[in-house]
Symmetry: C2
Subunit: 335 residues, 2 copies
């Protein structure tokens, strides 16, 4: 984790520069694309009757920009497309157009380190199989895009001091794939919300949910990785196929770890040498206690540190990231 | 079902009278209460950043008015309160105030047969257990109320001609209570949405989901009741504790049926004499085919018909319903 301080220092400088524009640029705190219009995020409204709200009938994906560069944007847009296919949504515009709009929004907002959320909802009409109703695939779907300054599921300060605490929940299990396929990124967070409440009740920050049969799944918006004897384990099912997880696995192999994507029994988590979480909104996030007990030394582990460095280094790699043109013409959108 | 025709005839007359006001009263097609303002339903917007949208972090309840009378409103408001307690939401106003606003909205809209939806969301900030974040119970929650003309999960025409078809889903199971407690009325409808798609693929209208262990649970917004040898069966767990179901059980006992609220194996559903669904948005809805096979005679069953009559008769009963004052003063709201 030798690169952590310089990376966070540079980020904090960029963030301070962004904040200096908050009073003059109404889009700098966040920006949204709704019905082909661009609005400040905190003034963005959606129809009450949107089925994404009224039935949770939506999918989404979260990409990021870091230091003015997209990181694996195509991976996120491809996954969104797969989620849509599984739930029979059609994104109303092309990926190319989505990317063009995203660039315009980043340019307009000046946000260099960004949380970029794409949401596709069923639209304004509900699914009905009755003779006068419309079936899922007959409805017009809605795309929302919104961008905010980068979101940290674990703050830089907590990553630095290694204060991430966790519990394996026992009041709630993860929704099983047979009820809802977790590879379709979704906002049916009831199980995660219960998990967050249990973690708080037990004096911890981050919940990890099981599959109800004694195996680890994932947490409230993040995959979980466990290191034991130099091997990295992460669950193969009952979880989102994380883009950050993909980066983590690539880095782990590069630094010489064996990687196993398979069933991860809770017992293995209890005996872990190191644990970390990963997600686009925060990156690689070290966990140093589980159920009130220290993990390993109780400090950020050495493998976790190596993966942290490799993950953030990848953000500058030309195969995985691309420069954003902040001078892009955003003329076609109503601004 | 001797009362079906007169009840629907009277309803259609009231609905025609309402529709005659659509061009002059902007609230007659629906009305919403958001941030202490009243707006036409189709112009109602909620903040994009509402956690009810961004995390499905909400509960709700649906009550009804029928022929200008509330039906079991207190049962619905009490259940909403219980849902809120389980998920640590606090409704920002009292039940009395909610009722007062509802009456104002009905008065303003002139809707005599109404679908009345109360939604309580976590609000604009997300749950975070981090030192600078706010825990679930520390956040300010939001109440939305919206009303539309009565919604029919099964149309009057289909109830009359007994054309309700169903399937037991096999591509999807109901989310188990250990992942999310279904007695907390929620909009995490991913499993129901998949069920609706499977039903359509299989040429049917209504999906019934199982618990994944061969037992019936519920469908996309309705409880399911099965009649066998004059006994009424409905599942005791893994389902919403329906207010309409409660009415149905009361009527069933009154007409001399034995009622069993217990585990209902799918095998029993396959051998049913009669099946019907029940929900506030549609009442008692006869199902005459299951998985492509006729149920019993393939016509609306005699017990179902008796319960239908008793259910709608209860809407005039002074212990269960109350007259709405359509001349109520709605002065305190911004209209």
């Amino acid at each position: 984790m030798s690169t952590m301080k310089p990376i966070f220092d540079a980020y904090h400088q960029r963030q301070a520069a962004l904040e200096a524009t908050y009073s003059t640029n109404p889009y700098a705190k966040g920006i949204a694309y709704i019905s082909n219009e661009i609005v400040p995020l905190h003034s963005a409204y959606i129809p009450l009757l949107d089925q994404g709200f009224l039935k949770g009938d939506l999918t989404y994906d979260v990409a990021s920009a870091w230091n003015g560069r997209f990181f694996r944007l195509d991976d996120h847009l491809s996954r969104l497309e797969r989620s849509c296919q599984k739930m029979r949504y059609r994104i109303p515009i092309s990926q190319e157009e989505m990317k063009r709009i995203t660039i315009s929004m980043l340019a307009k907002s000046g946000i260099k380190d960004a949380y970029i959320c794409y949401m596709v909802t069923r639209g304004l009409e509900r699914i009905s199989n009755t003779p006068l109703g419309k079936k899922a695939e007959e409805l017009s779907n809605t795309l929302y895009i919104w961008i905010s300054p980068y979101v940290w599921v674990m703050s830089p300060a907590a990553q630095m001091d290694g204060s991430g605490s966790s519990v394996i929940t026992r009041t709630v299990r993860r929704t099983p794939p047979g009820a809802f396929d977790p590879t379709v990124k979704n906002l049916q967070w009831g199980d995660f919300t219960r998990g967050l409440m249990e973690a708080a009740d037990r004096g911890a920050i981050y919940p990890f949910l099981t599959d109800g049969d004694g195996n680890l799944t994932e947490g409230a918006g993040y995959n979980v990785c466990v290191v034991k004897d130099g091997v990295l384990f992460t669950p193969d099912r009952g979880v989102l196929e994380g883009v950050t997880r993909k980066s983590v696995l690539e880095v782990a192999r590069k630094v010489g770890m064996e990687v196993r994507v398979e069933v991860v029994p809770v017992e293995l988590v209890d005996r872990a040498d190191e644990i970390f979480m990963c997600t686009t909104a925060g990156g690689v996030m070290p966990i140093t206690s589980l159920d009130g007990q220290e993990i390993g030394s109780g400090k950020v582990g050495e493998w976790t540190a190596k993966i942290w460095d490799g993950y953030w280094a990848a953000h500058e790699h030309p195969d995985l990231s691309e420069d954003i043109n902040y001078a892009a013409d955003s003329g076609r959108l109503k601004l």
